[in-house]
Chain length 342, copies 4
């Protein structure tokens, strides 16, 4: 019994997704995304999001984010994001590389979320003086956030309204988008395109796929060429794209993505409850998706580790640890963890 | 019965490779290439090439080529390659993007091959005048070539000697490296590191894998950081890298890569023989690997197409067509094609 | 008596230009091109070219060329130019740097000129296959050419028509634009905007200024922001831009630029005549501006050098030398040279 | 009588500097910094800084800063600077452009200065986790600071020690370096190379020159090629570099740079005293160089403006204004200003 709560990046591929890969492995197929799986994606995602969508299948969230931001942001443009965002802290400057030196502006915010007032204040402080300064161009939100919290449709709309009001574009890093939707219980369009999001990095790898993400552009057909050129030019146009696209199709079919995400969220909720009932440990953030940030002591963490529980003590903090639950986390594993907290 | 000779990019994944993927799909594994498959690669390739090797698994040949060249070439450096090279014609400037505006210098050569004299002449013509010109920095050879021919170890050594003599670095684009080795019958080290190649894009996707290539750096530990940073920064460090690495391990194991390549080469040879015996059609290049370039007429090509044969009439030429044979090409398929030429 | 015919880059600043600099040196002035000299440029050049023009004063031709090309060419776009062009051979990849890895495609042509047929053939050979290839985007002509020849308005128009017909943009590198106009005797608009040129690097440094060039954009107000951002971002927005702009204004005033260029051209013509009358030496190109390319022997060149004549034996050629005449070349100097050829 | 205290960027060229330009304007000279003025710079600056120096004359501080930082910082490296630094706020991302997407990390600090503890805290918070994060690579200090304060040699040494201790490189943006040295009264080497600075942007344009700055590299001959390539590639290698170099030589000769800076500092001190004696106005920072930041009311500022005083109300602040004094500020002008404060 492995009890690994380190990261949903470490999980295996779900059976249904692997079946789709195997099924796609029959005979030859057109290369470079001209196959029958890849060419279906625009329609499938347009249906899913109730709006005309352009979809680029890719292998990582980093490239989806980077292409999205570089498609709409000039080299002298800036992207505003939460100071804990993956694009800011975990991508080694991929957005800056794709965007030829564009700049990310990190903004602080409670519960790993941005607020319109903090955003507007940051934009004002950075809009500078004409040609001498970066030009505020894009907003990037993370959903679910890096703290395991979830923006409501109203919260997203308020932020997008601020950004659009200033002529900026909006992007959502949805590495854990399924977990967010499963948590909100809303239609996926409600918290994206209908709330003002222009582009979505629709994550699937963390929630049951192998290496499959979709960059979804809502409307804006004029952005297609740039996005496609950036994908090719960065080495991300797989010759055998069918295997990525087949994953994405199977992931969406029958609401598999939401079922897997709901399962993960439920496991997280069970652990959250155990923490709430614990004498010493406490929650750093409200648990709204599949991640739990527990405040406790190094003694407490060591004790858990000694019982075979795998998780990450947060870098730079010795009173905080992260536990991630996934599609593949069994009830039994969660029970073991919960019991450790008794 | 599909009789598709358009491209080895269109072929399915070989059964043994898919088995390896399935086998890697057990439980959790460390993310970002810290898994037990990825961490084995350095040793496995060091053994394969009889020298200490650094291996970066990646998903496409384009990114392997681009990282290799950008690792050793400054933005003001130039890379010399054949005018038909993939990096020159088919990667939308990925090397230039990774290399921040470095330049490719295309050099003509018979049978899709470079010669030392043509190379040296091109270098002389481009080395210019100090800071005003690009600095000749790298040589990139394609093996097997874009014409389906193969460089001998001696040919590679002569070219690498020329390059090294001028202080340049050497790279081999081995998108069809297996086919080249199967053709040469030599040890893979003989035509690479032992002939003076510093870096190899070891292709596997065209020869039975799904999306798996290895950037192999021979010696030169000081190049590791740059190569790894470029991989991360371009969005190519997969969180679930185990699935790529497992493919590569299975590909090498039991000489699978050579067996599959040999099979493909044999099919090509059968078709080449048919062309040689044909009254009108003829070979554009000697057939030494898994590609056949046939000179004929549009009438001839149309006739083949009407019989269900799929292949590519070469862009800009109406007297030339390419037929690619692969690990998955059945004897039956080749026989159908051969019979069409009778 | 110096008899230096090496390069017009080595010449001093003309007296009238220096006077303008001194005159601009009174009191304070708004920084960053908001001064009264810089803000006059749009109108002065609009008048000069009989069309609405956007003008960016800069310090070098390299940056004028690079901003022009990078303003209209995406990173995956290609620029077609003569294989002898300065942007191709003498700018260490500045266009590629400003253009984030865009590509130059050199095209051969007699007398250092492009022809529509050679251009179209090159474009056809490079337009490739969609997202896999660079996209032909721009044409760059050099006027006067690197061979000292001059395109007629009809020649420029034919090339621009070819480019525009393919949806491409057109740029003229006018490092020696004054010499070209002095040679043609036409209106400067006739061989630029009225012949289909979209952007001009209007050179002044070689013809009497200190470090002053103007990037002139004809029409196209939507290109202004990108051009101005690139200028700032590359460190070329001088705080004390007035000194550059004052040069440009004085250069144009009273046709000084044409008078200086005519003087230089006349000196070149005298030397050309001497070569035509020489028993052994001959002209490599027709002499139409201020440069003379003389074919002769190393013995001949050495003899000239022994008489104190300074000039450049052409790199890679021992039978060719270049002599450049400038605004500051005195009749006496030219006579000395001419006498050496008797 | 102009009473313009807006910026030292708006001042004219000092007479002695203009004389040097005129003197350099005799006859022809080798182009591209091979002239007799430019080739003297290494020695002159080596003498000035008591250490072997490599000097690149350039036209702007932005390009000096950008080349310096991009020479030592890889694209995945980060540069730590004060949050008010010119490179962070006023260069439209030039460092990021030259550095191909490297990142600036702004750090807060009192009196516009960094402290070792704030620096180390920022580095710790940003050094992240291996390949996923930017790598802290460089420190950039501004001297005099953007607040008109000056780092002492000890302060510089402490910061450089912190940076070097972490394997980082150090740069000083000396746009107002003369004012700092005039204020400190120390040897210029004491607060630069002898305090641990690796590279200095030695500013001259704000203090009497036309468009002349020197990038000074202390020791480190291996950095020369990259720095020179970046200068050429960014269009900053002037063909007639003699005019820049002649300014720099005249600027240093006879301590002109220090005399001019001292004059400017004295004017600032007079105004500072007037503020200290004022009932309502006060100083935002101690006045240690040639800039005075005065806190007051919009009413106060408007009153000054109505008396013909020109200055800048600080962006985003209506209680703060900046007054800059320069080599060209006359005692009379300062008296007028001072009298306005009575």
């Amino acid at each position: 019994m492995t009890t690994n709560f380190r990261s949903d990046n470490e999980t295996p591929v779900a059976a249904a997704i692997m079946d789709a890969i195997l099924e796609a492995n029959q005979g030859t197929a057109w290369a470079y995304a001209d196959d029958k799986w890849s060419t279906k994606l625009d329609q499938v995602f347009s249906d899913l999001f109730r709006t005309e969508a352009i979809v680029l299948p890719v292998s990582t969230g980093t490239v989806a984010n980077s292409i999205a931001l570089a498609t709409v942001t000039p080299p002298w443009g800036s992207v505003f994001c939460h100071s804990g965002a993956h694009i800011q802290n975990d991508e080694c400057g991929a957005p800056e590389f794709f965007g030829n030196g564009m700049r990310l502006v990190p903004v602080d915010g409670e519960q790993a979320k941005l607020t319109p007032s903090a955003l507007e204040k940051a934009i004002n402080a950075n809009e500078g003086h004409g040609v001498h300064s970066y030009k505020p161009t894009s907003l990037s939100l993370t959903q679910a956030t890096e703290g395991g919290t979830v923006y409501s449709p109203d919260e997203v709309r308020a932020l997008c309204d601020s950004a659009h009001g200033l002529g900026m574009n909006t992007h959502m890093d949805g590495a854990r988008f399924g977990n967010a939707i499963a948590s909100l219980g809303c239609h996926p369009a409600e918290v994206t395109v209908e709330a003002g999001i222009d582009m979505l990095s629709f994550g699937a790898s963390k929630n049951g796929c192998m290496a499959a993400e979709a960059l979804v552009i809502f409307g804006q057909p004029q952005w297609r060429e740039t996005a496609e050129r950036l994908r090719k030019r960065s080495g991300h146009l797989l010759s055998k794209m069918r295997y990525v696209s087949a994953q994405l199709l199977a992931y969406i079919e029958d609401d598999r993505w939401l079922k897997m995400a709901s399962h993960a969220n439920r496991q997280a909720a069970k652990f959250a409850k155990a923490i709430e009932n614990h004498a010493e440990a406490s929650l750093e953030y409200p648990v709204q998706a599949n991640e739990v940030f527990m405040k406790w002591t190094m003694e407490g963490f060591d004790q858990l580790k000694s019982q075979g529980i795998q998780f990450e003590v947060w870098p730079g903090r010795n009173d905080l640890a992260r536990f991630v639950f996934a599609h593949s986390t069994s009830d039994e594993e969660t029970d073991i963890l919960v019991n450790c907290m008794r």
